[in-house]
């Protein structure tokens, strides 16, 4: 473990960054460090954590807006929203179990990685879509803002989106303002027993192509034995006001019946199921295994899955209508090469999401960019972090 800096506020955080910049000392950037075993290991003697910057700073339920400091634990935000029957539409996952981390993820960490759950399939369903504004400290220690606290804003370049998903390499997020949504009054799931993954994706596509507002569409290759589903099962979630659900479930069932036997999962069982999908729990990745996330066109997913099963006997979980492929397997370069090849063949993308340091240091953890884009990336990095001290090497060598 490296030296840990935990500044108590934005000013001291900016000061710490300026001091590190003056000394040309790289900093590893984290919140609670939940996903320290993700992407490439950062070579830095010191770690700067945002965990000292905690707390909700603004919550206007009637405007569906919340601001919180970057180090605020996600459960604290969820609890505040639950009081007003609201939610973060992206359904951000909690990967602390997947990473064996003791502390829950922080808001800053989630936004810096742009991590979204099953509701990602809806329009505007990514966490980055719901970031209305940010405050951040650049690599030379300047405090900047982008966006604001209003829902519609096209003023200037959208640095919110640039920073969301930049994994702390362009700036240290200090405060984030999010768009909220009302929490649906009720939800239920339909489970379709399907012959294989290709049939499963077809069932999900049929559901997502229906007008009934499917808000979750996942595929469990091993089913859900606790619900009596022992083979591949396609899961579709409906959420809305309670009185609307019986009719919609009936109509959706009619569409899905052509794809396999349909059963209904209601109440708490449905909620538990989607929390598990959200957190990639059904993947049951063993502690020594590597975990990959691939994003492809849903109809390309079955071929990706087959390739990974053949290459290294991957354990799989599909979400986002099939387009998000979770894979677990041996933490070997050969397995990683198979993931890269499958993503390329499907014209999609991949992330080495969890692995021992040795593998993460040895391979590209995200796809290489074309040379012209990589050159722009180097210049953008220099614009935001001129001395290259923020999370060096986190995304690319």
């Amino acid at each position: 473990m490296t030296d840990l800096l935990v500044p108590p506020d934005e000013n001291s955080l900016a000061e710490a960054v300026r001091a590190a910049a003056a000394a040309r000392e790289p900093l590893a950037i984290e919140g609670h460090g939940t996903r320290r075993a993700s992407l490439r290991p950062v070579q830095a003697a010191r770690t700067l954590s945002t965990r000292g910057l905690s707390g909700i700073t603004l919550y206007r339920p009637a405007e569906m807006v919340l601001s919180a400091r970057a180090g605020t634990p996600m459960p604290e935000i969820a609890a505040a929203l639950a009081e007003h029957r609201q939610m973060l539409p992206a359904e951000p996952p909690d990967f602390s179990a997947l990473f064996g981390a003791a502390l829950p993820p922080t808001l800053g960490g989630m936004v810096a990685a742009n991590l979204s759950g099953p509701r990602r399939i809806g329009p505007g369903g990514a966490l980055r879509d719901q970031v209305l504004g940010v405050r951040a400290v650049t690599g030379d220690g300047a405090v900047i803002r982008s966006g604001g606290r209003v829902h519609k804003n096209v003023t200037g370049l959208d640095l919110c989106k640039l920073l969301a998903g930049s994994h702390g390499t362009l700036g240290v997020l200090t405060e984030i303002t999010l768009k909220l949504a009302p929490r649906p009054e009720d939800s239920l799931s339909l489970a379709v027993r399907v012959a294989d993954l290709a049939a499963g994706v077809r069932a999900l596509s049929a559901g997502l192509g229906s007008p009934f507002g499917v808000s979750g569409a996942a595929l469990l290759p091993g089913g859900a034995p606790e619900l009596g589903l022992d083979g591949p099962a396609a899961l579709l979630r409906l959420e809305d006001f309670s009185p609307f659900l019986p009719h919609r479930a009936g109509a959706l069932r009619g569409i899905l019946a052509a794809h396999g036997a349909v059963s209904m999962v209601e109440g708490e069982a449905s909620l538990v199921l989607w929390r598990a999908v959200r957190d990639a729990a059904p993947l049951e990745a063993a502690a020594d295994q590597a975990v990959w996330r691939l994003s492809v066109r849903p109809t390309a997913a079955p071929a990706v899955a087959r390739a990974l099963e053949e290459a290294f006997g991957a354990r799989l979980l599909l979400d986002w209508g099939g387009g998000l492929v979770w894979a677990a397997g041996p933490a070997l370069e050969a397995a990683h090469r198979a993931v890269m090849a499958a993503a390329r063949a499907a014209r999609g993308t991949f992330t080495l999401f969890r692995a021992p340091d040795s593998l993460r240091a040895a391979v590209p953890v995200v796809p290489e960019e074309p040379a012209a884009l990589a050159a722009i990336g180097v210049r953008v990095k220099a614009a935001m972090d001129p001395l290259g001290i923020l999370n060096p090497g986190r995304l690319r060598a």
Partner: protein, 486 residues
């Protein structure tokens, strides 16, 4: 008036040679000339939706594909010639306003639908396809493309990407950025880069998110992969009229607080109601101070249930009238006035400026009161139309373009409104973009440090500042490269 940079005399002097070189890159087609260089035809490109500003360009090129766009950009880059991208020219902020020494790259010949994939709920189209053209191409399958700017019959998806366009229905379905999967991006050096594709989310930096809404500052987009959505079973609207802006604002809060997200929630003030009613005869209540149009989606029973709840909520605020459409035709009648709002205001005033700030929704009564006071002191009428659910305010300031003093006052009035939007916690532009119109107000919303950081990112893509110059960023404080280009 907003200052535009003086043209580069060296580029102007080479005009004939440049036009000739461009003709080799973009040959004529059976549809017409690939390059427009004569003064009469160039007049057609001298302005956009911000028609108070006019300037014919050096030349216009109308490429038919990505390779031609790349070739033109490469040529302009090598020769230090400025470039102004243009879709349909509907920008209300002057985003497509030419410069005398700039080449306009028009996208209208690039209007093919390349792929429709309903299984994966996406379509790949060229940048010159109109917004409505996408929905028309997928409607038979029951799908639609969600963002619906008022100009959707004309405006092109490439322009929508560049401005991150919104529309009346983005409360539920989001703006352009929320409905994109990928773009074919061409840099000023003429490099063609595929960003995103058919999948969700990037593994590295979110270039797609940065490019969306970048107003042509970073590069051009020639092909776009959009998400298409299955249309709801049906939609129906209701109208609620109130005695004051305050009360209508409270009703909006109560609606949002109820857990219902309508697909549209539009607010009109008294002058807007009167202008629209005189124009469209939609049966709007002329004794009301404020009016809401609320639209919900679902099957017939769901619409009934939602409209019933909304009626109950509105009834708590002492409404003057509540009218729930029973049929699709009655819904259309309710929308008729609102959809014709721009034409309606155009009928009572020779000219108007359409402003576009966003405010926290709770600030609406306060902001409308202040706008009323400004209207009195400037002696100019204003009608307010407001996407109430998301806080996007469109004051229409009426003036007479034949009277320079009236135009000057209208611009000053508009600037004061936008400063007020920032003051109450909002922003300068919700969906029209900064363009030239709001360029000089950027310092109201951003610090010098923040603007410098945005300019540095622009420089990372466009080191010589050749792309859509004199837009978005105030002319003072430009980096040396940009000043040299000016």
């Amino acid at each position: 008036m907003i200052e535009l940079p003086s043209p580069n005399p060296a580029v102007l002097a080479r005009r004939a040679e440049i036009v000739e070189a461009l003709r080799k890159l973009v040959p004529d087609t059976p549809l017409g000339h690939g390059v427009i260089g004569d003064e009469i035809r160039l007049k057609a490109y001298e302005t956009d939706g911000l028609s108070a500003y006019r300037q014919p360009p050096l030349a216009v090129v109308l490429p038919t594909g990505t390779a031609q766009v790349a070739a033109v950009l490469r040529y302009c880059h090598e020769n230090g010639i400025r470039v102004v991208p243009r879709g349909a020219g509907t920008s209300l902020s002057g985003g497509a306003l030419p410069l005398a020494d700039a080449v306009v790259i028009g996208l209208m010949r690039m209007n093919r639908i390349l792929e429709i994939d309903t299984d994966n709920r996406l379509a790949v189209v060229e940048a010159g396809v109109t917004n409505i053209g996408i929905t028309q191409a997928v409607a038979e399958e029951g799908f639609f493309y969600a963002p619906d700017p008022s100009s959707q019959l004309a405006c092109m998806i490439g322009g929508n990407v560049m401005m991150n366009s919104g529309g009346a229905h983005c409360l539920k379905y989001g703006v352009t950025a929320n409905n994109l999967l990928g773009v074919t991006f061409v840099t000023i050096e003429g490099e063609v880069i595929e960003i995103g594709g058919g999948h969700l989310d990037a593994a590295g930096y979110d270039w797609l998110g940065l490019i969306t809404g970048s107003e042509g500052q970073l590069g051009l987009v020639t092909e776009v992969t959009v998400r298409i959505l299955r249309a709801a079973e049906g939609a129906r609207a209701m109208l609620a009229a109130f005695r004051s802006n305050e009360v209508a604002g409270q009703a909006v809060d109560a609606i949002i607080g109820s857990g219902i997200i309508p697909v549209a929630l539009e607010f009109m003030d008294r002058p807007a109601i009167h202008a629209c009613e005189a124009f469209a005869h939609a049966g709007y209540p002329l004794d009301a101070e404020a009016m809401l149009i609320i639209e919900v989606e679902g099957n017939a029973e769901e619409q009934d249930a939602l409209l019933g709840k909304l009626r109950e909520i509105c009834a708590r605020f002492d409404p003057i009238s509540l009218r729930v459409a029973e049929t699709a035709e009655e819904s259309l009648a309710i929308w008729k006035g609102r959809k014709g709002a721009f034409g309606a205001v155009g009928r009572i005033s020779p000219d108007y400026l359409c402003m576009d700030g966003t405010i926290p929704t709770g600030e609406l009564p306060h902001v409308l009161r202040r706008i009323g006071e400004m209207s009195d002191s400037y002696g100019l009428q204003v009608a307010n139309i407001f996407h109430a659910g998301d806080g996007n305010l469109h004051p229409l300031i009426m003036f007479d373009a034949n009277d320079p003093e009236s135009f000057r006052k209208a611009e000053a009035f508009g600037a004061d409104i936008l400063k007020l939007c920032v003051e109450v916690g909002g922003c300068l532009t919700g969906e029209h973009g900064v363009g030239v119109e709001k360029r000089d107000l950027m310092g109201v919303q951003f610090t010098r440090e923040e603007l410098d950081r945005q300019r540095a990112i622009k420089s990372a893509f466009d080191p010589a500042w050749l792309l859509n110059p004199a837009k978005v960023f105030p002319l003072d404080g430009l980096p040396a490269a940009a000043r040299a280009a000016a």
